[in-house]
């Protein structure tokens, strides 16, 4: 039987001076997570990390455009950067198989802002299940929203 999903697991509306948002004790019953960032602020580099891992255990690759030039970038990192050099105020990241314990964690993301767009694929080089998602940025815009959704894998 079709099973309703795309469940909102949590959302945060940013208050003054907020720089870190953490979603913890994440329900492990879903297959994918969708992490949505809305209006976090201009020209700041945000980073997503899993299970508080700030080591060099992430890889990324992206393509981006600023209205006149298309460029790319790739490498290792200490997190998944949502805005390397292009202003991104809105972004959505799909985190696949986050509860699996036999897969590295793959992330597909897109972002858009006043100065361009980007798409990226990233990986957390760990087979551990993701129980915590943290988003860190220098300073978020008051009223910005950070949301986490779950997409089920089981028809009930």
């Amino acid at each position: 039987m079709p099973t309703p999903t795309y469940d909102l697991l949590g959302t945060v509306t940013v208050g003054p001076s907020t720089s870190i948002v953490t979603f913890g004790s994440i329900d492990q019953s879903y297959n994918d997570l969708v992490f949505v960032i809305d209006n976090v602020g201009a020209l700041q580099q945000g980073v997503i990390r899993f299970n508080s891992d700030s080591g060099s255990n992430y890889e990324y690759l992206m393509m981006k455009g600023d209205g006149s030039t298309a460029t790319g970038d790739s490498g290792g990192a200490s997190g998944i950067f949502t805005m390397p050099t292009t202003e991104v105020a809105l972004s959505r990241h799909h985190i696949f198989d986050y509860s699996a314990t036999n897969k590295n964690k793959s992330v597909l993301g897109t972002g858009a802002g006043a100065n361009g767009v980007l798409a990226q694929v990233a990986k957390w080089k760990s087979n551990n299940a993701i129980t915590t998602v943290t988003y860190t940025i220098g300073s978020m815009t008051v009223g910005a929203t950070i949301s986490l959704y779950g997409i089920t894998k089981t028809v009930v």
Binding site: P2, Y6, I20, L61, M62, G72, K103, N104, S106, L108
Partner: protein
């Protein structure tokens, strides 16, 4: 200053009693290696306006060749393809039907935990007045030689014949066990 949500429960996500219009219809997972995955009986999904397939694939192509395959609607290849792809340098565009994915043979140090994940949207899939078009966002890191690791991909048919099935066939090697397609439907207003 930080903000932390702990103990996230599904019950928090009920949306204030508003029924979800996004539903999981079926999950198809390979129990053994196979050349293809096909989702059938799409014409029975009359409750939905749009379909989305979320999934993962990995192949077993050997040697230095990357694994690739192609999408089909109603068992046949599509007529037009367009790709925007990136491997870390300047993005490029192409018109080939090939959709690349990781294999478990090209680089032993990267296997078997690395998969190519994708989100496929099939909008207005049952509309008799519109040509069929698939939009696929896929990626994998690391990438393999000549295998774009991030891609926006479209595949179109100049046909308004109702779609009854959608499939993906590996053209080189097979799709391995645990490859998975999950079909979701989005209801119309």
């Amino acid at each position: 200053m930080s903000f932390m949500l702990l103990g996230i429960l599904n019950s928090q996500a009920s949306g204030g009693g508003v029924a979800s219009s996004y539903e999981l219809i079926q999950t198809t997972r390979l129990n053994s290696n196979s050349s293809s995955i096909t989702l059938s009986s799409l014409d029975t999904l009359t409750d939905y306006q749009h379909l989305q397939i979320r999934g993962r694939i990995q192949g077993n192509a050997t040697g230095t060749s990357e694994a690739y395959g192609s999408w089909q609607i109603n068992g046949t290849s599509l007529e037009r393809y367009h790709t925007l792809q990136g491997q870390g340098g300047a993005p490029s565009s192409g018109s080939a039907a090939n959709a690349y994915f990781t294999t478990n043979n090209n680089n032993a140090s990267y296997t078997p935990q690395n998969w190519t994940n994708f989100v496929l949207d099939f909008l207005d899939f049952s509309n008799p007045n519109k040509n069929s078009t698939l939009r696929v966002f896929s990626g994998a890191k690391p990438y393999f030689p000549n295998s774009p690791s991030i891609r926006f991909f479209s595949a179109s048919n100049f046909s308004t014949v109702a779609a009854t099935s959608i499939g993906f066939t590996a053209n080189l090697g097979s799709l391995i066990t645990d490859s998975e397609f999950r079909l979701y439907g989005i209801k119309e207003a």
